[in-house]
Every structure is written in structure tokens, then in C-alpha cells.
């Protein structure tokens, strides 16, 4: 048994080694769980929407709830203009949520506990939102960096601060998700290790903690997916309705 609590985050390649240029493109356990995440989501929605009845069965109900949850979230935070981006937000929310939840299964791998995965997600959101903003408002999107009612001699400083604030968005978005997932899973593993090392006499207390932490982690898995999606909505709102 691996005693190191960090060994669960190791990425190793499975299958043949694929090298293109200087990039190692081998299929890893991380890629496997990403594929698994997408497969689980797709299968679930295919099965749930198979029999579209007016009175939904359990699976259809869950699918509809996920749909309505995201739809409500978008209309509350980003308004009507954000309707076209509904498929994107829904996929994003479900991907993060299911990746987090799959990570809760024993012996599985948590995709979102790696900063590079969450940063890639956040960075593409950042690029996309900026592109949407420029496409909608043209060059006047730069007004986002110039708050109204600022004295002219403070303007250079304020603009720099606003630009830093804008650039820090993808970092804070990705660090939050990654740090939550990694800290939670490390803690679980540490308490699991305590159970083994204290044995049958003293192991019951950390076992109780581990059970409680598992519940907390399930909550965190949901909250972080929710926060990730809602912040995307908020950024989208800034880009669509320029009222800074």
C-alpha cells in the first residue's frame, strides 16, 4: 500500500508511448479519467432522455434538474444575453462536477486535482470571454479597465490595477478548484494512513474523521463545480453587459 499521501496524484502513462516532436502525448491515467468523465456524462444523458415522458422517472428527473439548475444560474447572473452560451456552461459544470465525483471513488484518479488541467480550463474560458467581449463591443471593451469617476491623475495607476485584476482571473479560478481538490484528497489519504498505522486499537478515531471528511469532500466537489460555473457566468456577464 502506498503510504505517501501524494502518490495518488501521480500521472503515469498507460499503453504505448506516443512522442510527437518534443511532446509526450502518451495516454495517461489522467486522460483515461477525462475520457471516463465524458463517457459517464454522455451515457447518463442518453439513457435519461431515452423515454421522454411528461411525468419523469428518476433519471430523467436528475437530468432535468441539472438542466434547470444551470439555466437558472445563467439567467440570474448573466442575464438574457448569455442564453447562447448555455451549452458551454452546462458542459463545463458537468465536466468539473463529474470529474470531482469520480475522484471520490476509491482507487480512482482526480483529474481536477492537477493545476494544469484546471488552468487549461480557466485559460480557455478567459480567452473565450475576452473574445466575446471584443466581438460584442469592439475596441470600447477596453473601457472595462477605466472605471468612471476616477480623477485623471490617478488613472494610470487604476488602469494598471484593473489590468492585473483582469489577468488574475484565470489564476484564481484554477487555483481555487485545484487547491480544494488536492487538499481534500491529501487529507483523506493522511487520515486513511492513520487508521492503518494505529491499528485496531486506536484506528477508530481517524476512521470516523475519514468518514466525515468523505462527506465534506462530496460537498466540496459540488460547491467547487458550482463556483467554477458561476464565476464563468459572472465573467461572461462582464463581457456582455459592459457596466463597470
Amino acid at each position: 500500500m502506498a503510504a505517501n499521501p501524494m502518490s495518488q496524484f501521480e500521472v503515469y502513462s498507460i499503453g504505448p508511448k506516443i512522442q510527437i516532436g518534443s511532446f509526450d502525448l502518451s495516454f495517461t491515467n489522467s486522460s483515461l479519467f477525462m475520457v471516463l468523465t465524458v463517457t459517464v456524462i454522455s451515457l447518463f444523458f442518453i439513457v435519461a432522455t431515452q423515454k421522454k415522458s411528461l411525468v419523469p422517472n428518476k433519471m430523467q428527473l436528475i437530468a432535468e434538474m441539472a438542466f434547470e439548475f444551470v439555466s437558472k444560474m445563467i439567467s440570474e447572473t448573466a442575464g438574457k444575453d448569455a442564453r447562447p452560451y448555455f451549452p458551454f456552461i452546462l458542459s463545463l459544470f458537468l465536466f468539473v462536477l463529474v470529474a470531482n465525483l469520480l475522484g471520490m471513488l476509491p482507487y480512482s484518479f482526480t483529474v481536477t486535482s492537477h493545476i494544469i488541467v484546471t488552468f487549461a480550463l480557466a485559460f480557455f474560458i478567459f480567452i473565450g470571454v475576452t473574445a466575446v467581449g471584443f466581438a460584442k463591443h469592439g475596441i470600447s471593451y477596453l473601457k472595462l479597465f477605466v472605471p468612471s469617476g476616477v480623477p485623471i491623475f490617478l488613472l494610470p495607476l487604476i488602469i494598471v490595477i484593473e489590468v492585473i485584476s483582469y489577468l488574475s482571473r484565470p489564476v484564481s479560478l484554477s487555483v481555487r478548484l485545484f487547491a480544494n481538490m488536492m487538499a481534500g484528497h491529501t487529507m483523506l489519504k493522511v487520515f486513511g494512513g492513520f487508521v492503518v498505522s494505529l491499528g485496531i486499537l486506536g484506528g477508530w478515531l481517524p476512521l470516523g474523521f475519514a468518514v466525515a471528511l468523505t462527506g465534506l469532500e462530496l460537498l466540496v466537489a459540488f460547491i467547487q463545480a458550482y463556483v467554477f460555473a458561476i464565476l464563468t457566468c459572472i465573467y461572461l456577464n462582464d463581457a456582455l453587459n459592459l457596466h463597470h
Binding site: 490595477i161 492585473i164 485584476s165 488574475s168 481555487r176 466540496v220 467547487q224 463556483v227
Partner: protein, 95 residues
Amino acid sequence: MAFKMKDIKELDSKIKDLSEKTRKAESEPSSNSSLGMAMKLSSEMVAAVFVASLIGYYLDKWLETEPFFLIFLFFLGAVTGILNVVRTSKMINKE
């Protein structure tokens, strides 16, 4: 007849229980996210300092003005971080 009344009462209490449960479940996301809120605020602060310092470091490398921009932008990043925290908590309060 008495038997039926008992059934109806039982059903009534069941419905009340369930409706209470759903109401609780509906109010969950907003009340439960205090943990998420704490993480949100702290990461906001750290991210701004980190990004600003990174920009400062590379500006210094490019313009060969070590360590002026690193120090200057570090403090500006701290200012931005506090501004972000204030903004986020304002937004949370509005909700």
C-alpha cells in the same frame, strides 16, 4: 371510516415532511457556500499578487531593471488583491 381518517392523517404528515425537506434542499446552495466563499476570497488575494509579481519579474528581465518592477508590482498586486476581495464580498452581500 376511522381507519381512513388515520390514513389521510398519515399521508398529510408525510407530505408536510417532504415539503419541508425540499424547502431545506432548495435553500442549501446559498447557505452552504460559506466554505466556498472563504476559499474564493483567499484565492482571489493570492492570485492577484502572484500574477502581478510574475509580470514584474519578466518586465525586469526584459528591461534589465532588476528588481524595480518586481517590487513595485508586488505591492500593486497586493493592492489589487485587496480590491478584488472587497469587490467579491460586495457581490456576495448583494446576493
